[in-house]
Amino acid sequence: MYDRIRRIPAVALIAGALALMPISGSAQNSAKSSDTASRDRWLHVRVENPDSKDELVRVNIPLDLAEKILPTIDKDNFHNGHIKIDHFDCNGVDFPALLSAVRDAKDGEFVTVQSKEQDVRVAKQGNYFLVHVVDKEKSSKDKDAKPSRVEVRIPMKVVDALFSGKKDEVDLVAGLHALALQGDTELVSVKDHEQTVRVWLDSKNVSD
């Protein structure tokens, strides 16, 4: 009888530990899922070949992860999430002042270049900095080829954040942080006869 009584706590302890294991696991999972909800900004890169469905590159990066990884990289001009630009020379132009002027300016086109080879358009529209390039060189040689199109659409707050550090540095971490605060948006689109490239931001952990 005495032995049985002494055995009960040991058995109960093991049974209790085994019974609690899945509970603690699910508690961890629920904590993780709520944590995941706060880390739901993903940067997606997708490269496809329109002629061949077999060729595909998909990269999905959580912005929060990128923000934490970048400061750990210490290589060449890349230190602590900053890229140092050697021989940063704007020919006397005060770059921060220029950025500030662009930010404060009304929506409109700043640069428009039209030539036989390519059209370039740099504009500001609804707090986005836009660069559109249409390369007509290949299509002029091959009439079947469509012109290559590059469209870059960067939120002004991200541009500000990127150049918020020292004069000759690009602060990538600040840029990513500012990007994470933006809504779903397409950042880069490249379309030519060989491939299409898309870079966009949303809350899905897979690219559609």
């Binding site: 061949s52 998909r58 959580p62 990884i69 750990t72 952990n205």
Partner: protein, 152 residues
């Protein structure tokens, strides 16, 4: 009779505890199959990898290239943060004959590479990755703090 039961209980308890400890980090899995008939399939409890690292002579770690040592801080953050992204696909590259995928499946980092010659599947529990990277980092810090430099 009671003594035999006690011994059996103690033995079973020890085995159960050892088993739970051995497998608490999950199982690391490496599978390599090629077209020449080579099939390497390894399943190892993730907990034994950090233990095995303590057995490896330190001079072997000093043979790591400088670039690999530079990657240790990156891997430390990566191993810690990836736990927040279960069941996520990070990279997929596919062309006519090659397919590469890097993803999280539950608490494991899974890398799959398929090409015409080989099929490789690696599944590594994050806990194991964290333990390994922490061990490497400790070695690196000991070296950095040692004025005599690495003991090669």
């Amino acid at each position: 009779m009671i003594l035999a039961a006690k011994v059996a209980l103690a033995f079973t308890g020890t085995i159960a505890a050892a088993g739970m400890y051995t497998f608490h980090d999950g199982i690391a899995q490496v599978q390599v199959d090629d077209n020449h008939g080579t099939h390497v399939h390894i399943w190892a409890p993730a907990a034994i990898v950090p233990i095995a690292m303590h057995v490896v002579p330190k001079r072997e770690f000093h043979k790591f290239p400088h670039e690999a040592q530079q990657a240790i801080p990156i891997l430390r953050v990566l191993a810690k943060e990836l736990a927040n992204y279960p069941n996520s696909e990070f990279v997929e590259v596919r062309d006519s004959d090659t397919h590469v995928r890097v993803r999280m499946v539950g608490s494991k980092v899974v890398v799959d590479v398929t090409d015409p010659e080989n099929k490789v599947h690696v599944a590594c529990p994050l806990a194991m990755l964290q333990d390994v990277v922490d061990s490497l980092n400790d070695l690196k810090e000991n070296d950095d703090s040692d004025p005599a430099g690495p003991t090669v």
